[in-house]
């Protein structure tokens, strides 16, 4: 069964996303909404990892992927500056958050096949938050894009 590998992927993706939110929060402190919300969302990602713990305890977690890594999603280690830099950083977050979101969906599919109510319950609580994170990032980028791309120097 390959579910443990996907649980590992999910765990890692949530951890990477949490770290990246914190990175952006720190690097874009002059945008208070982004600063505070990224901190809140980082905590959400921490909680998602916590929520996975009992499931991981049952299935185990494989951190070594036997599929070769083609796309590297190591998270953000630095932030850019200026309006376009902000937009690019948010876009990077968006990619990471998408990876999290779709991985939850895959895990949900497996949970349904396994009729694992505990896992379904965990997915139910976390997946909607993950997709709201995506919607927030979209909302915020749509707001920032015209100004950054047209009016900013």
């Amino acid at each position: 069964m390959k579910l443990p590998m996907y649980l590992g992927l999910l765990h890692k993706a949530e951890a990477t996303l949490a770290r990246s939110y914190r990175q952006i929060a720190e690097g874009h402190g002059a945008e208070p909404d982004i600063h505070f919300l990224c901190l809140t969302l980082a905590k959400q990602c921490d909680a998602h990892q916590q929520a996975l713990q009992p499931v991981v305890a049952r299935y185990g977690e494989v951190s070594e992927d036997d599929e070769p890594e083609r796309l590297h999603a190591d998270g953000l280690t630095e932030t850019r500056s200026g309006p376009v830099g902000l937009l690019r950083d948010l876009q990077d977050l968006y990619l990471l958050a998408n990876l999290v979101d779709i991985t939850w969906t895959m895990v949900q599919q497996a949970a349904q096949g396994l009729r694992d109510t505990e896992l379904l319950d965990v997915v139910g609580r976390c997946e909607s938050e993950a997709s709201t994170q995506l919607r927030w990032l979209t909302t915020r980028m749509k707001q920032a894009a015209p100004q950054a791309l047209i009016a900013a120097d």
């Binding site: 002059a30 208070p32 919300l37 919607r135 927030w136 707001q143 047209i150």
Partner: protein, 842 residues
């Protein structure tokens, strides 16, 4: 005669539930002017708070010389409060008014003529539009202008220039009221009305110090509370306000924890089965989500988080859950605090759960602060499209484009409209180069003033300021335009209960000052904004043209004005929208039929996630099939963003005093009001003051991570660990800048805002307090209200003196035969006055 500084709410006229509030006409004429001297009375309404009390202006020899409340007006039944009586005309008829335009030459502002000033604006506007396009332009307006002026500005900005960067100081004041109603019901629009106070069995005030913010509405409450069947009163406020003193339950929670408390109250309704299951089933959506979200919030958990007693939470919930008719009013204690929209939505949720909406005595009043804030929200001079249209709905955008005969592409609708805080951020970054500020004073009223001053002073930003006075903000302007004030121009505006009033011009503006409408129309003409047909975008000549255009724009929308003409507004009471062929007399309450404006084709918004502000979007909203049902919306509680710590151990909150409005540009020019509250202060609790070695009147330094104020201390009745500062005080009547004596409350506040309403969080920050010097006597804080000293008698009582004496006239038929109808202050006339509604007294 009654001293209305000491006796803020005037003489009581108690009445019972279901009776009409007795008429009491308040009048104050200038010293030496008798009623017989008045040449004429001109109809208007007060613009010194959101209550919008109907009043007439006394004119003698071409000057305003007094005011009296309009007995026929449903809002105030003749009454006026201290500000209305003492600062309406006194606040504008002064020698300090701006009378000529000014432009900056060699770094200094110098007087000039209108042509030169306007051409300078137009030249900058044109060159920026050519170089950078519409996103270089921003307009920051007010909650003080008239419908006609907002709508003109809305059309210019959205249909002429096409910039999304338009907002008002309404963002600081009522953005959350609008946001909460949009999220819960699908559109802005006050469900309740003031007569609900006459009908209720219980009254909840959430972060609403009504006694000081809307004094005439509070008179109405006092008259119910002193009447034969007193409604229960519940107050949520960290300070011992007049409201708190009168309350049956006072929940003096820690600032920043409103949502936790609200979760607890909602949970109690579920736990005790107090919900109206039938109403919930037929008229709402998402009750399961709400119930799950509040589950953890037992009264004990609330007590731990909010610092209140668990039993008080139970008692408050019990009153809400078991009273037949409950009125809720909400204001800045919620709107300017963390999780503002989510907390305010929980008030709506409580009413929806009990099915208490749209019926007499069951009103929700998501209040406004400013007199015309409602109109900024309606007319599109802020971050909304005119007529509560939905920027995400292409049909709504097309309707506006057709109405204005412009290309729909011009109207900014590709992203949420830019809120005030973001406008200032873009100005800080240099991508906005043109900022036109009308009738507001951000250099005192916005959070984190050191930053705001830097932005306004930045050389790349061209600032136009349009005002009555040389404000702190005007000092930074490149062009200053002198505006006509209240009584000097004609226009309409709408109070917090949807009541529309007409304010007729009584006198000429001073010098060369012009109405805000004339100024906007002049700009539009000079910029040569045209519609698709090549005709001028705005061809209005005067206010009534603008008003008729607005009526057209409002047709078929929730705020339908088509049945309210100028002539219908003359003579009688204000009229509540919607008013159209279907509702020719206006509409007292919304949603009596349980149908809400949530239909996706009709709604003003598809809504947001309340934790993050993420938009729901058209597809997901349609998929919910709201079909006229209200939505239960909420968010998980999260603690305030800046919590006290070892370096900044106190919670800091800001607010109002009854004697001032905004940054005191009008009220400080009224001698009695200014004497009553002449200078800034901070309030400390007795125990905190003791620990810090601070005595009444000692000078303290209050510091946050952003700045410092140095002001006298009032040792008062505030919650320990919390410090309060009034936000009215700036520097225009000092040396013009904070140097030497910083006293503006917003030196300390944070740049942070609610994710949905984008309203700044003024009411939670962490500060350090320390005594710096002995005082020269007690602080100047008023003794008559929440700022009273903890030990009574230690400080001289606040009095008004001869200039603050107002006349009170009670309903003539209620008085003994032979009485002239005028009584002096004294014992409560009280229950002796049978409740009657009478016609206009004159």
């Amino acid at each position: 005669m009654v001293d209305r500084i000491t006796d803020i709410w005037g003489t009581r006229t108690p009445f019972a539930r279901g009776e009409s509030w007795p008429v009491r006409v308040d009048q104050l004429l200038a010293d030496g002017v008798g009623e017989a001297d008045v040449d004429r009375w001109v109809q208007s309404a007060c613009v010194l708070c959101s209550n919008g009390c109907g009043m007439d202006i006394a004119v003698k020899d071409g000057a305003m010389v007094g005011v009296r409340g309009r007995a026929v007006d449903a809002v105030n039944q003749g009454r006026l409060g201290p500000k209305g009586l003492l600062a309406s005309w006194q606040g504008v008829a002064t020698k300090e008014r701006l009378t000529r335009p000014m432009i900056r030459e060699n770094g200094r502002l110098v007087e000039t003529d209108w042509d030169t000033a306007m051409e300078r604006i137009v030249a900058r506007s044109r060159s920026l539009l050519a170089d950078k396009g519409p996103l270089s332009h921003a307009f920051y307006t007010s909650g003080q202008l008239f419908i006609e002026e907002y709508y003109a500005l809305g059309v210019i900005g959205k249909g002429g220039i096409g910039t999304p960067h338009m907002d008002g100081n309404t963002r600081l004041c009522t953005a959350t009221a609008a946001a909460a109603m949009k999220e819960s019901f699908g559109s802005d629009g006050q469900p309740g009305c003031y007569t609900d106070i006459d009908e209720c069995d219980a009254l909840f005030l959430y972060g609403h110090n009504m006694a000081e913010t809307q004094t005439v509405l509070w008179s109405r409450v006092l008259d119910r509370v002193t009447g034969p069947d007193r409604p229960a009163v519940v107050c949520v406020d960290p300070r011992e306000t007049e409201v708190a003193r009168l309350a049956d339950v006072h929940l003096a929670l820690k600032p920043g924890t409103n949502l936790a408390l609200m979760h607890g109250l909602v949970r109690e309704l579920f736990a005790h089965g107090w919900n109206d299951e039938d109403f919930v089933a037929h008229h709402t959506l998402n009750v399961e989500e709400l119930s799950a979200a509040v589950q953890p919030w037992t009264p004990e958990e609330v007590a731990r988080t909010c610092g209140v007693e668990a039993d008080d939470v139970r008692r408050a919930a019990g009153i809400f859950g078991t009273s037949r008719r409950v009125v809720s009013t909400v204001l800045q204690g919620f709107y300017q605090s963390s999780q503002a929209t989510a907390s305010s939505c929980q008030v709506n949720n409580l009413h929806l759960l009990r099915g208490m909406i749209g019926r007499p005595g069951c009103g929700i009043l998501q209040m406004n602060g400013q007199p015309t804030a409602q109109n900024n929200r309606e007319c599109g001079a802020d971050g909304d499209l005119p007529g509560f249209r939905n920027w995400e709905n292409p049909d709504h955008v097309n309707e506006l484009a057709a109405l204005w005969n412009v290309d729909p592409q011009v109207i900014p609708h590709w992203a949420p409209p830019t809120h005030a805080m973001q406008i200032f951020r873009y100005a800080e970054q240099g991508s906005i180069g043109f900022l036109w500020i009308s009738a507001t004073n951000p250099a005192v009223s916005m959070p984190e003033l050191p930053r705001i001053r830097k932005i306004l002073a930045s050389p790349g930003l061209f600032v136009v300021v349009q005002d009555l006075y040389m404000t702190e903000t005007a000092q930074y302007a490149d062009v200053v335009l002198p505006a006509a004030g209240w009584g000097e121009k004609t226009g309409t505006f709408t109070n917090a209960s949807r009541t529309v009033h007409l304010s007729d011009q009584a006198v000429e503006p001073p010098g060369e000052a012009r109405s805000d409408l004339d100024i906007f129309l002049d700009y539009s003409r000079r910029m040569d904004f045209r519609n698709k047909g090549g005709a001028p975008l705005l061809d209005w000549v005067g206010p009534e043209d603008a008003y008729r255009a607005w009526q057209d724009c409002s047709r078929g929308r929730p705020c339908d004005y088509t049945g309210i003409s100028y002539s219908k507004l003359r003579g009688g009471s204000g009229i509540q929208w919607p008013c159209n062929e279907e509702h020719p007399g206006g509409t007292k309450r919304l949603y009596g039929d349980g149908i809400f404006p949530s239909n996706p084709d009709y709604c003003e918004t598809y809504g947001h996630d309340l934790l993050t502000g993420a938009t729901v979007g058209p597809q997901a909203f349609r998929a919910m099939a709201p079909a006229g049902r209200a939505l239960f919306k909420t968010a998980p509680y999260s603690p305030p963003h800046e919590e006290p710590d070892a370096d900044y151990p106190f919670r800091y909150t800001t607010g109002r005093t009854v004697y001032h409005f905004h940054t005191r540009t009008k009220t400080a020019r009224s001698k009695p009001l200014n004497r009553a509250a002449p200078d800034a202060w901070v309030e400390l609790s007795v125990s905190d003051a003791g620990r810090l070695g601070v005595a009444e009147g000692d000078i303290v330094s209050v510091r946050s991570r952003r700045g410092e104020i140095v002001v006298p201390a009032r040792v008062g009745d505030i919650r320990s660990g919390t410090v309060f500062a009034p936000f009215h005080y700036g520097y225009w009547d000092e040396c013009g800048s904070p140097d030497g004596r910083p006293r503006a409350a917003n030196e300390l506040t944070m740049t942070d805002w609610d994710p949905v309403s984008k309203q700044p969080v003024f009411k939670s920050a962490a500060v350090h307090v320390e005594r710096v010097a002995a005082g020269a006597g007690p602080s100047a804080a008023p003794t008559t209200t929440a700022s009273r000293p903890a030990s009574a008698g230690s400080v001289p009582v606040t009095v008004g003196g001869p200039e603050a004496q107002a006349q009170e006239t009670f309903a003539p038929e209620a008085l003994p035969a032979g009485s002239a109808g005028t009584v002096s202050a004294g014992p409560v006339l009280g229950a002796a006055v049978p409740a009657t509604t009478v016609g206009e007294l004159s």
